[in-house]
Symmetry: C2
DNA sequence: CGCGGCTTTGATGTTCATCAAGTAAAGTGG
DNA sequence: CCACTTTACTTGATGAACATCAAAGCCGCG
């Protein structure tokens, strides 16, 4: 990871609208002085499970996965998410150490602000506090919802769900490059790698998707949605 | 449901320590005036999925289940939880309608405060805001954790987990009456009712638990914990 | 060009849901 | 309080869904 930013751009950052809209220009300037922008390469770890939480982090660009390691050493992927949809780690206000790890699955840029600074703002500025709480609630809701949705589906439904998730939520395109390995998809939806691959092959045979290595093209969106819902 | 409270007892309520510790006596009195205490009988619904959210609710006594209805009409139980561990519904700050239903699984008393009053307090009082955010974060963390834990286990591990959950988290006793049906346990851990019963019977045969209808006695706690972890 | 990791496919076995049929328990109305 | 109805529980048998194992192909990289 490398520090990239030299001068402050917070005032015009998209993130300002999302949680920092209640801050006046003076406070934004102060935020700038307390902020670092750090780049991560694909595969690098942004937060490590068990590490002390000292900063408030949010994703400015790229794509990350949130995961934890379970007893048998396997990874359990909690969610894969893109900028602004994900504020650091949810536990920053409830725990003093990270409960989950966060890793870049594409090259990513993360903004890092001292947590104390954010907490101070939170105490002093009600509007900011409300905005932040709302944002954190939405993120938590989304993760809980996603987890429940996945749990309730069978294998084919889950694979269809993931394909739709990448297509609609992440890339907004019917053609996209999978940012994760087959195994990571398996860890995400809680199935074996072999069966994820098998199901993708079935979709291919049935003309629902086209697969060229990591590149996926969704051919029959409608059918995929039916499979995902029914699954 | 019936309204039970006539005079205010908020000042000495246990809940005060948890999220209302930052409020002075005057504000507590104001809270009292904006509060109702409502009793629910076992089985009654406290919040209904899709209903408009107008109040901040917390459980004062009893036991509730949080659940949602999925496409095929089945219930998906998200968590079962007891007083103070659960503040209304998580989505009160992110949604305008309930995403989940809450029902009493034991006779319960719920305190109901107008949401606007809480939001107002939240904006004005940084300490209160921080306390509330921390509490909500913890609740969300717990639900996410629990869901991930369950997902990662197999059938026997899940049933062992639930028995331990009731014994340790809810009743703090090796002997307890199950507050829910076998089917509700199945909906909670995502398995069929028949297999939940079968697994309980197996535990019984192996001398790990004793079962008399709804009454459970945990005989071999150690073995149950091993099964839950390994599962 | 050869090694190691990711992917693919088939064969096999385990786990778990589903169905069915019966028993116990809990309401319900006379 | 008893007969009746309904709902919850229990157990076995069967089959479907899914994991696991194994072997082979592919691809990037030293």
């Amino acid at each position: 990871m490398t520090k990239t930013d030299k001068y402050c751009v917070c005032a015009s950052c998209d993130f300002r609208d999302i949680v920092f809209s209640y801050l006046d220009d003076g406070t934004i300037q102060e935020l700038c002085n307390n902020k670092e922008e750090i780049s991560f390469r694909k595969g690098e770890i942004i937060n490590h499970e068990g590490e002390k939480i000292t900063d408030f982090k949010y994703l400015k660009s790229g794509l990350v996965k949130l995961y934890r390691r379970v007893s048998n050493g396997e990874e359990q992927v909690i969610t894969i998410t893109r900028p602004f949809e994900f504020v650091s780690n949810m536990s920053i206000f409830s725990e003093d150490r990270y409960k989950y790890s966060v890793a870049a699955v594409e090259d990513s840029v993360v903004c890092v602000v001292k947590l104390d600074f954010i907490k101070d703002l939170f105490m002093k500025n009600g509007g900011f506090a409300m905005g932040l709480l709302t944002k954190i609630s939405k993120i938590n809701d989304k993760i809980i919802n996603q987890t429940l949705d996945i749990r309730q589906k069978n294998l084919v439904g889950r694979v269809a769900f993931v394909m739709l998730y990448f297509s609609k939520e992440i890339y907004n395109s019917k053609v996209f490059d999978l940012p994760v390995s087959r195994k990571e998809i398996a860890d995400y939806i809680g199935m074996s790698t072999a069966n994820v691959i098998r199901t993708l092959s079935d979709f291919k045979k049935d003309g629902i998707i086209k697969v060229f290595g990591k590149t996926i093209e969704i051919v029959d969106l409608n059918k995929l949605e039916i499979i995902s819902k029914r699954g």
